[in-house]
């Protein structure tokens, strides 16, 4: 039975997929579906309650929260997808290197990975963003770097396991170039696991971006980021709770969508990983 067939039978996973598609469309179509310019301020309407004019209310500058949430989808998805790519690319290179080279290079790389894992990740990301300067791109890089150690471990483990198997050994003995090895033997074996990891990583990447923005090191105004919206809404939490709660809900839905898809993919592609985290 194919992976897609298995995936399709999982209703929650399908729901997740639908949500991801909706998020994607929202991001692409933002200018057409947002009722207002997300940067348009109307100071006298600050903290307007949800109502006829502003469906989800207005923030502390009188900006339409719905429009900002819609535009915020762009930042969330951009950071999620790009950082996953960075984590995968970095992890693949390092993991392959460590796995194939072995010896001191392997030992050094794995020690470095351990150091990064022993470092509270949020502080690492905080430090990277502080060094590069805030902004969507730099946040993406920081989040991506955070994913590299884990991917490195997965890839190295897979490479080590495969190196022991006969067909890779044989192919090597026959003098197959490394690129061939990668394409024909290793990639097909680690790809399912990586796809699952990448999907779940995107969920966490969205959370981390939000956390960084929350701590004041995210995108730049007037760009709308959900984390920043929660952060600024926090100041008026007791007077106008909707300012912080609405974007928080958006974060939750987006993360939930990727988690659902990731879970579904795991069950469909890689039954051995079922239930593991």
């Amino acid at each position: 039975m194919g992976g897609w067939a298995r995936f399709r039978r999982n209703r929650l996973a399908l729901l997740g997929l639908v949500l991801v598609v909706v998020l994607g469309l929202t991001a692409v179509l933002a200018p057409w579906i947002a009722p207002y310019d997300p940067a348009r301020q109307s100071l006298v309407e600050k903290r307007a309650r949800p109502g006829a004019k502003y469906v989800l209310g207005a923030d502390e500058f009188g900006r339409d929260i719905l429009s900002r949430v819609i535009y915020g989808t762009r930042v969330a998805l951009l950071v999620g997808v790009l950082s996953a790519l960075i984590a995968l690319a970095g992890g693949l290179v390092l993991g392959m290197t460590a796995g194939f080279a072995g010896g001191w290079l392997d030992a050094t790389l794995m020690r470095a990975v351990e150091i990064l894992l022993a470092f509270p990740y949020l502080l690492l990301a905080l430090a990277i963003v502080a060094a590069l300067g805030p902004g969507a791109l730099n946040t993406t890089i920081a989040v991506g770097i955070w994913g590299i150690p884990a991917v490195t471990r997965i890839v190295r483990g897979a490479v080590l396991a495969l190196r022991e198997t006969e067909y890779v050994g044989a192919a090597r003995a026959l003098g197959a170039p490394g690129r061939d090895l990668l394409r024909r033997h290793i990639a097909p074996n680690i790809l399912p696991g990586l796809i699952v990891y990448a999907t779940l990583f995107m969920a966490n990447a969205i959370l981390l971006e939000a956390a960084l923005s929350f701590l004041g090191l995210g995108v730049q105004p007037p760009t709308a980021s959900w984390g920043l919206m929660v952060s600024t809404g926090r100041d008026v939490l007791l007077v106008a709770p909707h300012v912080a709660t609405v974007p928080g809900l958006a974060i939750m839905v987006a993360v939930l969508a990727f988690n659902l898809v990731g879970d579904g993919l795991r069950d469909a592609l890689d039954p051995r990983m079922r239930g593991s985290t």
Partner: protein, 528 residues
Amino acid sequence: MRMRSRLLPGLLVLGLAVASIVPSADAQKRGGTLTIVRPTDPVSLDPNLETTAPGAWVYFNMLEGLLTLDDKMQVKPLLATSYEVMSPTKVRFKLRPNVKFHDGTPFNAAAVKFTFDRALRGTPPARWASLAGSLDGAEVVDDLTVDVVTKEPYGPILRTLAMYCMGIVSPTAVQKQGADFSRAPVGTGPFKFVEWKTNTHVIIERNNDYWGDKALLDRVIFKVVPEEGARMIALQTGDADMVLFPSPAQLPALRKDSKFTVHETTGIRVVFAGFHAGMPPLDDVRVRQALLHAVDRKAILDNIMEGSAGPARGVLAPGVFGYKDMQLDKLYPFDRAKAKALLTQAGWTPGPDGIMVKGGQRLSLSWLAARGRYPKDGEITEAIQAMFKDVGVEAKVQVLEWAAVFQQVRANPFNHHMFTLGWVTSNADADYSLYALFHSKQVPPTGWNTSRYANPRVDTLVEQARRSLNQTEREKLYGEVQDILAKEMVWIPVYTTKEIIVTRSSVKGFHIHPVEYNLALWKTSVEK
């Protein structure tokens, strides 16, 4: 040659006035404990190591300087009784007799010299050395006479000596306690140190051997409560009698509630959006003026500051010596049509996306700001950014953490068109701001002329005012400087801070001071 103190009117007479201040008999009884909640623990209780509010609030009640500023911002004698100007760089002070430090040792000229030497010649120098301008030290004349010496004629000398951080410390205690002095200082003030439990509280108690009117309170407890909401709750439940940095959102309700008293006064910090006047297109004064017209400052005060700040009437706050109302509301009213007209005059025309263009260049300004360094600094930046857009000016705001912003504004060259900053005139003398911020030689990292403002006339005026000890003359010179600045605006002054403290109404006799550090508690009492 002696210049008599008529040049500094009023001070001699006031030497006697202090003793005549008698607490009004109404309800001000002795005794009671005052519990204060504030957001952070002090860095230190020694002005040598801390000049910011968390430490100053506490030591201001324990350490006393030669002079002080009253809550009308007038210089008043404290440990000095009178003075005489001996030469342009030397002022002679008569010291108050029979004053003892908390450790029982006598206060005298040697202690003054010791305090200044420790601060100015120590390694590293005291934190307040940077605030003290040309102050060079003190020379002992006799036991109760001391000469304060400056490196050059220095007009602001009296206000400098009256700063909150100029308290005289006990030489014996400093020598005995060593590094621990910074956690348990010994001065001459109306309160003395009891205990400091890090991140929990600092306790001070009444000094029963005080030379003047003794404090009314038995004890003051400064508690650390970082979260604004929790501080307000502590006030409401009675766990605290006084809250520093109250929540602005709750002030309207508290003002109406008879259980509480909201004490407020205009502060001495001006928060502004600064222009880099040396960088095109902001080197064109018409563009700068247009941007001033584009900003609806009243809307910002009403909707973002929500009553927690006052309008900025110029580059200085009203309590500062030398302040002149620059009448910004009259000169630069909020007027988008006027703003656009000025931009048109300067050669800018609307481009395809609504942003003004000139010779193929878009009117796009890069802007550096922090969030949370000054009240609502990030928010006002974002609001002005949107207001600029309405007149066809794009602002590319970069909100960085304060550390990064600070490094860039202190650097030369500065590569942004605009920056959001706040400036407090610490010694309450215009020199402190007008010299450091607008003299053409005071470009960072030497001074704070981040705007790269250069006007030879202003240079001459601020130099002359700095060297003069004639306060009337100085005031006139500073007035002229502000008239020139008003025409050439290199800032958008946004607001003047307000000092706001809320107490329970059982707290009597408390007077809020325009300088946030000067939290005077000796006339305060708690009715139980």
